[in-house]
């Protein structure tokens, strides 16, 4: 909770920094934000981790239990890396303070989504997270693609929000409460006697949430928005926003609607199957690395949804936590390399040609990130997929497992296209791609983290324990 307040304060500080730029506030903005995120992270863990008292605030509107803290920890850590590598982009733009304020407000929404216990806070969290993103997607005003991205995201996102609200209204009408726990109790008390429109509401909320996590067939906005937005914003969307949306998804469907899983699991299985096939098959033919990463994020969404589908809170929640961590860390590395390479030689695969000779360290980081996203052993991505597969094995959806393994094999192909370009293709230029020292440091740290949590996955998995 204190973390949430600190991030709110940082957002307001970023706005004040513009007014008082005469006092040099603008120069210290990034260090202050980084420090604030660390403080928020530490305070969250110190005051609320494993603390059964006083974790529920404002009449159960928001609850910082271990589940929320673990996921907000992933989000805050990713945000820290993000602010280090993205700073370079904002230093070149005139309105760094507005951008920082909007990103921090989006972060407030993301943190709310990890901790909500009430449909009103769910809705507000989603909106607080989405509205700054609509603007940030369109923030390169002189670029038609960026305008298109912002507009598409706004129109389709509002449409999905409409579905969410309609779903909430129907669920409220059937149960008489916005509280997730009350709804859960009503479901188990009704013994299947809930009115039909309750199930319609659940499915509508499923549609809206699938849109927010970009699962097929609600994924059509993803490639265009991810490609059109500035690369740093795309990195934010595909890591922090995705983690937050998934946390919301888990809480809503595992905790809230877990009692009627037989009503939605078939729909979700179909969504997962579609996402796996469409994302992986389309990603193969992409010419731009950014677009390829957009499709890859759809396929990773499908993997995380498989964790939601296997309703076993004890096993699948740590599995999804591990997956979000592995995916976020890997993606941050990939996007920071892509950002620096694309400044030099464009977003296509050919921009990576010969990077192994030009910037050996950066190429190694990118290679590890790609291996992790593809799920090759020793990296974190392997165990992430392994845990998800293990949970799905225990359910009746074993056919999804077969499909997931097959489509992962396709995934290996397009991830390796980047590695092949870096190490086996001749470069057009010989000089190094310029990278800032601190960005280089973040790339190395995230790469080491990818390998470290891949070698000792137990730490992350056991962290949540049996309490969630």
């Amino acid at each position: 909770m204190k973390g949430l307040f600190i991030i709110c304060g940082l957002g307001i500080f970023a706005m004040l920094a513009e007014i008082f730029k005469g006092f040099g506030l603008k120069k210290i903005l990034q260090p202050v934000v980084l420090l604030g995120i660390v403080v928020a992270f530490v305070l969250n863990i110190l005051t609320e981790w494993n603390n059964p008292m006083s974790i529920s605030y404002f009449n159960n509107m928001i609850v910082f239990d271990n589940f929320a803290l673990a996921f907000s920890g992933v989000i805050l850590a990713t945000a820290f890396f993000w602010f280090v590598f993205a700073n370079d982009y904002f230093e070149n733009s005139s309105d760094v303070t507005d951008h920082f304020a909007l990103v921090l407000f989006a972060l407030v929404g993301a943190l709310m989504l990890t901790a909500y216990k009430n449909m009103t806070t769910l809705f507000l969290g989603i909106e607080i997270m989405s509205i700054p993103l609509y603007v940030l997607a369109a923030s390169r005003k002189n670029d038609v693609k960026s305008n298109e991205a912002g507009f598409k995201y706004l129109i389709l996102g509002s449409f999905a929000t409409g579905f969410l609200l309609f779903g909430i209204a129907l669920v409220y009408g059937a149960t008489g409460s916005f509280d997730i726990m009350v709804i859960r109790a009503k479901i188990s008390a009704a013994q299947g006697g809930l009115p039909l429109f309750f199930h319609a509401g659940v499915i509508m909320m499923l549609v809206a949430m699938c849109f927010k996590v970009a699962a097929a067939p609600f994924h059509f906005w993803t490639p265009d928005v991810y490609q059109g937005s500035p690369t740093v914003i795309t990195a934010f969307m595909s890591t922090i926003v995705k983690t937050a949306a998934f946390t919301a998804f888990i809480r809503l469907f595992l905790v809230g609607f877990g009692g009627i899983s037989e009503k939605w699991e078939m729909v979700m299985a179909a969504i997962i199957a579609l996402s796996l096939v469409i994302a992986n098959v389309t990603a193969v033919s992409q010419g731009s690395v950014k677009r390829m990463l957009a499709y890859s994020s759809i396929s990773h969404a499908a993997f995380m949804l498989m964790g939601v589908l296997a309703v076993q809170p004890g096993m699948s929640i740590p599995g999804i936590l591990y997956y979000t961590l592995a995916y976020s860390v890997g993606s941050i590395t990939a996007f920071s390399v892509l950002y620096n390479v694309s400044k030099d030689s464009g977003e296509g695969f050919e921009g990576f040609n010969g990077l192994g000779k030009r910037n050996p360290v950066m190429a190694f980081c990118m290679a590890v990130a790609m291996l992790s996203l593809a799920g090759i052993p020793v990296t974190a991505g392997f165990f992430a997929k392994y845990f998800i597969f293990a949970t799905i094995m225990a359910t009746s959806f074993k056919w999804l497992l077969v499909l997931a393994v097959l489509t992962s094999a396709i995934g290996v192909y397009y991830y390796f296209k980047v590695i092949i370009a870096m190490y086996f293709k001749p470069a057009d230029k010989t000089e190094k791609v310029p990278v800032e020292m601190q960005v280089m440091l973040i790339m190395i740290i995230t790469t080491l983290l990818t390998i470290a949590i891949g070698v000792v996955p137990g730490y992350v998995i056991d962290m949540l324990g049996n309490s969630h």
Binding site: I62, I131, V135
Partner: protein, 175 residues
Amino acid sequence: MSTLLLNIPVTQYMFYFLSFVAILCGMMVVISKNPIHSILYLILTFFSIAGHYLLLNAQFLAVVHIIVYAGAIMVLFLYVIMMMNLNEKDEPNKKVFLKIAAVGSAGLLLLTLVGSLKGAEKMVAAAPLNTNVGLIKNLGQTLFGEFLFPFEISSILLLAAMVGAIMIGKKDPVK
């Protein structure tokens, strides 16, 4: 027959009338070719929904709904559409296949939603209707009591929207 009709309370007649107007105008918003007409029908829809609020004893909500939606937001819409100078001939030509697909999927959604209401008429209300629910006093107590956190955190939402609007609206130095 006549006794049956007389047994229905007058609010029920009002309900059916308002619902009819709301649905009719809602359909006209989509059907009418002229965007100005669409807006005017939308205003009518909002008024009939405000009538529903009144039937539910939510007087404050009804008034706010008319002032904010039917008043402010719709006038804004009207200005934007008049400034954009849209008219019938600017309407993009959509493919027949797209039209059929849109009608088909929207029809299926309608079918599902209407079908899901089956059996709802037999439901018993979870709590009896509190006739004072719409008074500002009760509303304020709920807003600043149970729903304090959502109420306060909405300020972040509004702030973000404001910053965003200014950021999009202001002129960028052309590089």
